[in-house]
């Protein structure tokens, strides 16, 4: 009797999951939940808020495809985009959907600048994008966006760096450190243990991000050999921070920095290789 009840419940949800504009009897929107599922299979993404900047590491998935060798490498990232001077966004999920949302975010940030002459506070920008995402769960009968966005930015009013994520339902959350995508739970437990009480310096965030990246991937995607292999970079490492232009009392500008492979290799060599070697030695002993 129990087995048949379970089956009928599954069939029940199948009746209410065809259109997003219908609640299931349990009060759920199945289309939105399926959209979230689309993202759980995406490449892992790590974000870490530091005292003087934000770091994002994102695993790129199209390199893993069988024609990876034939794919032309790009200078720009397919995961991380500039939204405004002080905000960058990392995308995960359906790329086409993501492109639309990135453009909307850029427009929203620019409109704020036009009206108020100032950089938009990051949370307000995220709320605007979430307003758009919510529309596609209620009006028009169109499917939701299958995209998770990670906004990294600097808030002028608070004077701190921030990290926000959005999901297809149109809700958002703020984080000190986050990890999602494939094997995210591994990365999250590592961050729970290793993220300090106070936001760390940017230079300390970088090796932590790479360490989490290794934890979430099936094989060790950051190692001395892969990091030095320019032809097939698997991971984008990115930082957003204020950079001095070098002039005394001069203006600072925001730097959106995509780390080249040599730099990633250098960080690995300096911070992660000794631990990896020690762990290997301990395992052998």
């Amino acid at each position: 009797a129990l087995a048949s009840k379970k089956k009928s419940q599954q069939q029940m949800s199948r009746r209410y999951d065809k259109v997003v504009t219908t609640f299931s009897p349990e009060g759920r929107l199945h289309q939105v939940e399926y959209a979230v599922e689309a993202i759980n299979q995406a490449g892992a993404c790590v974000g870490i808020v530091g005292k003087d900047g934000v770091v994002i590491a994102a695993e790129k998935q199209n390199v893993r495809a069988s024609n990876g060798r034939l794919l032309e490498t790009t200078k720009t990232s397919e995961k991380i985009y500039k939204v405004d001077d002080h905000v960058a966004v990392c995308v995960a999920g359906l790329s086409a959907d993501a492109n639309v949302l990135v453009e909307e975010a850029r427009l929203a940030a620019a409109r704020y600048r036009y009206a108020y002459g100032r950089r938009v506070p990051v949370e307000q920008l995220v709320q605007k994008v979430c307003g758009l995402l919510q529309l596609y769960t209620q009006y028009g009968g169109q499917r939701p966006f299958g995209v998770k966005l990670v906004f990294a930015g600097y808030d002028d009013i608070l004077g701190t760096y921030q990290l926000f994520t959005t999901d297809p339902s149109g809700t958002y959350s703020g984080y000190k450190a986050l990890c999602f995508g494939q094997n995210a739970t591994n990365g999250q437990s590592l961050l729970r243990n290793e993220y300090p009480d106070e936001p760390p310096a940017l230079d300390d965030c970088l090796p932590l991000a790479l360490k989490v990246m290794n934890k979430t991937s099936d094989s060790e995607i950051i190692s001395e050999s892969t990091a030095a292999d320019d032809a097939s970079p698997h991971v984008d490492l990115f930082s957003l921070s204020l950079k001095d232009l070098g002039t005394k009392d001069g203006p600072k500008v925001f730097s959106h920095y995509l780390f080249p492979q040599e730099k990633i290799a250098a960080i690995f060599k300096e911070h992660l290789a000794p631990d990896a070697a020690a762990a290997a030695a301990a395992a052998a002993a």
Binding site: Y114, A115, Y116, G117, R118, P121, E123, Q124, D156, I157, L158, G159
Partner: protein, 185 residues
Amino acid sequence: MTDCTFGFVGQKHKFVVVAADRSAARSIVVFKQDEDKVLELDASKLLGSAGSAPDGVAFTEFIQKNVALYEIDNGTRLDTFATANFIRNELAQALRRGPYQTNLLLGGLDRESPLYADDEASLYYIDYLASSNKVNFGCHGYASNFILSIFDKEWHPDLTVDQAKDLVQKCIDELQNRFLINLPE
């Protein structure tokens, strides 16, 4: 044009004064002598208006409610610079549709924060054609013919509050002495 509003910053940009006459008149008739033409946008901003009375009231109240909405929506107050930009933008959009015939002086005080190294008071001169400039002192209307000269001579960056009061009185005296239109208040 017969309306007069003037203002200035004082004490190394630690306070700002916005003043306006109190006459509401049309043609040869004075309706009232106690009209308040300086609106409190919020606890730290003043908006003085001069020009067409209905436009002045409609526009400044519109701005006041939008500034309040921003604070409720976003949990932070707009600073004076952003408010001036917002006001100018609204005037500019209306300019080629249905313009507001109103000149404005926005005075505001911004407290020390990550955006401001120290408390800073500022004054913005915004005219009915949607130009906006940050100024040390300014005035709108015919009265500017008289008051600007007073400011040129008497204003300096280190005005104390008492000196500011004297300066305002000097402006009022000059207007009541030399301006054709009677502005008793």
